[in-house]
Symmetry: none
Subunit: 414 residues, 2 copies
């Protein structure tokens, strides 16, 4: 630990999918360049900026691998499928050796052909009773845990000896017969058998369940099957608070982000209902939760999902609006900056409106603290940040840098 210096706190603000590309209709500027962002720019003017390859140059990150990197983990070491993060996102945090799956409640006919992949977007309270009914399901030597997600979504954890995530999806993603789960390596054979047994057993329980009888009588598609996909193993990682010696929390609306942070050992804080995670979300309410959390935590990760949604929907004007709304949130933060706070403003990946999906473009980064060297970067965007003094770093470098700025890193050598 640093000798005399006071240890600071860290606020990492992840603007999901913020990075973009030149938009011809915007005179070849990005949505972030077009938007009026005096407050984000203030942080750039009073800090140091750069660009960041969250995984490595040109690699398109998922939100899950990206957040792992931003938390200082090497995703190539610890990431093994999306299932565990989805499961954790709805509160099912498994342990090493568990295999987790994302699931959909769906409707199949008598030949197991999918007729509605979301069972008419079945939701609570129906799904609560159906998930409850599945808890009675017993399998030989394997424990089955089913968790309820939003609407038709659920998660499945299989727990037992010799399980592996080397198995294929059951969800055919189309109106065809459900797929048989198959092992993709010898290690996956026991798991593939267990998944097929689970799907069949769950189908028997759901098929004749009173909830589904009632749905059919109302003309609604029955939620008569659960379709697992995205098998993944829970990573064996050093919990973030242990690794960093920081009391750590996350403020996020999206299940998967909450799941990643939960698996990494961060406390997942409750946010008010007005923080919808959508483009109409109340960002200032979220920032309030994050700033108040700094009374109890040394490290807070805040994820704002809205810019990613506009990127996926290719809505350039909406992305500009979302960014300008975020800028008001930065005004709120700027007016309440504690002296010891290190603020990192960045994104988990770019979601360019011209692509409609994640891209491997580097993301803008500004690091602010009272003691941060000030460079000549005057505006927070993909172009200006790229000329700042932080240069071009990797996502996994961000945590060591902000921890050092907060006087929280160990000396290597004497």
């Amino acid at each position: 630990m640093t000798g005399m210096a006071h240890k600071g706190r860290v606020l990492m603000i992840i603007m999901d999918g913020l990075g973009d590309r030149a938009v011809p209709e915007f005179s070849y500027r990005t949505p972030l360049q077009k938007a009026r962002t005096p407050n984000m720019d203030w942080f750039a003017q009073n800090g140091s900026s750069g660009i960041m390859d969250v995984i490595s140059p040109g690699i398109r990150p998922g939100s899950d691998t990206a957040h792992l990197a931003l938390l200082g983990y090497d995703p190539y070491e610890v990431y093994a499928g999306r299932g565990p993060f989805e499961a954790a996102g709805i509160g099912l945090i498994g342990r090493k050796g568990d295999v987790a799956f994302r699931c959909n409640f769906a409707t199949v006919d008598d030949d197991l052909v999918v007729t509605d992949r979301r069972a008419g977007r079945v939701k609570e309270p129906d799904t609560i009773e159906l998930v409850e009914a599945l808890q009675s399901l017993k399998m030989d030597g394997i424990e089955v845990i089913v968790g309820l997600g939003t609407e038709h979504r659920a998660a499945l954890i299989l727990r037992g000896e010799g399980l592996s995530s080397d198995v294929t999806d059951v969800d055919p993603h189309d109106h065809v017969r459900i797929w048989e789960c198959k092992a993709t390596s010898e290690k996956g054979e026991r798991t593939a058998d267990a998944v097929n047994e689970f799907v069949a057993a769950a189908h028997r329980i759901l098929r004749d369940h009173p909830i589904n009888v009632a749905r059919k009588s109302k003309g609604l598609p029955p939620a008569n099957i659960l379709l697992p996909r995205g098998a993944g193993s829970f990573p064996d990682i050093i919990p973030f608070p242990e690794k960093t010696d920081m009391r750590s929390a996350c403020v996020a609306g999206v299940g998967m982000i909450k799941g990643i942070c939960g698996i990494c050992g961060l406390d997942v804080l409750e946010i008010p209902a007005c923080c919808t995670g959508g483009t109409g979300t109340d960002m200032i309410a979220k920032a309030k939760v994050a700033l108040e959390a700094l009374d109890e935590y040394d490290f807070v990760l805040m994820n704002i999902k809205a810019p990613d949604l506009s990127g996926h929907d290719s809505l350039a004007d909406q992305k500009v609006e979302v960014i300008e709304k975020m800028d008001e949130m930065f005004a709120y933060i700027r007016e309440r900056l504690p002296d010891d706070l290190v603020v990192a403003m960045t994104a988990d990946h770019s979601t360019p409106v011209s692509v409609g999906d994640h891209s491997g473009d580097p993301v803008p980064l500004t690091i602010y603290s009272r003691h941060m060297v000030r460079d000549s970067c005057k505006a927070y965007n993909e172009a200006d940040c790229g000329e700042g003094r932080l240069g071009r770093i990797r996502g996994k470098d961000l945590l060591p840098i902000v921890m050092d700025m907060a006087n929280r890193s160990e000396k290597y050598g004497a």
Copy 2:
């Protein structure tokens, strides 16, 4: 080797702890930004600049690991504790398999409780006689070498079969009973026994030594024990002159830096007494030694300790003064630049005055030679260099870059 081009010489100037952070009282500039440095800036204007993570982004380097990186070694491969560098710094350069320790002469009472960790800052000529007395110490199968440091400091080398640095300190760093040396792995058991045997045998020799009898009669604390700490193995490295095919020397005042350079096979040059290593040091005298050494050597590393001292003492104004004094040294060098010289101006780490210790902030870097591409960087400091064309490099990249500028690197491929 490069075909036609003349091989140049290299002067690497390491301004210890130079890098800093924004100082609020300096209008958020760093000491280096505040200082008037026309000569350092001249080098920036006539060379290329960048910033450097001496180990990797956000990692706080020790002076030892940093200098290893600057000499092109991977500290994660070759660094195993401070002991060998301290020993080498006082002229005890061991060989592979040796285990070295830093030691203090201290005063203990009859119960081996430390009453003065520095034995009243005992010094020469007392320590010369005491160290001499310890040379007679024989141990079964293990050779013992004790070297004299400054004041109460000494170094210990154990040489023999099956030794390891996996042992704990004897120095309790406090006024309590001395610690028993313990193995931290099975490999360290033989060494731990040897250390405990050495400490006891040395205590028997020192306790009744005439020097200590005399000290007691004068009311001075007797230097009646030697307390080892910081066990380290001598690294098994390719000597720098062999690795680089450059006749190489170091000009440094600080023992540990001399030790690192000595272990790496650089000739450690004598410097005049006016080069104290303190903030009042005569830097021009040191530069004179370095420039004259270039008559005989291809590579000279010069370390200037003063800025690090001001950083550790959190004296921002003093750091500015030290930097302006260094700038006069750069005027001296600039007036005497040989045509073939490549000059690298950088630091081994930052020692921000607001931290009072090493930090992981990147350090400024300018590389000058007559043939270096000139970028738009006009001032040598943490902010401007960060926007120069060298970008953001790692410490281990510096040596290959300057060797290449000196037309001394091997071609990779055809």
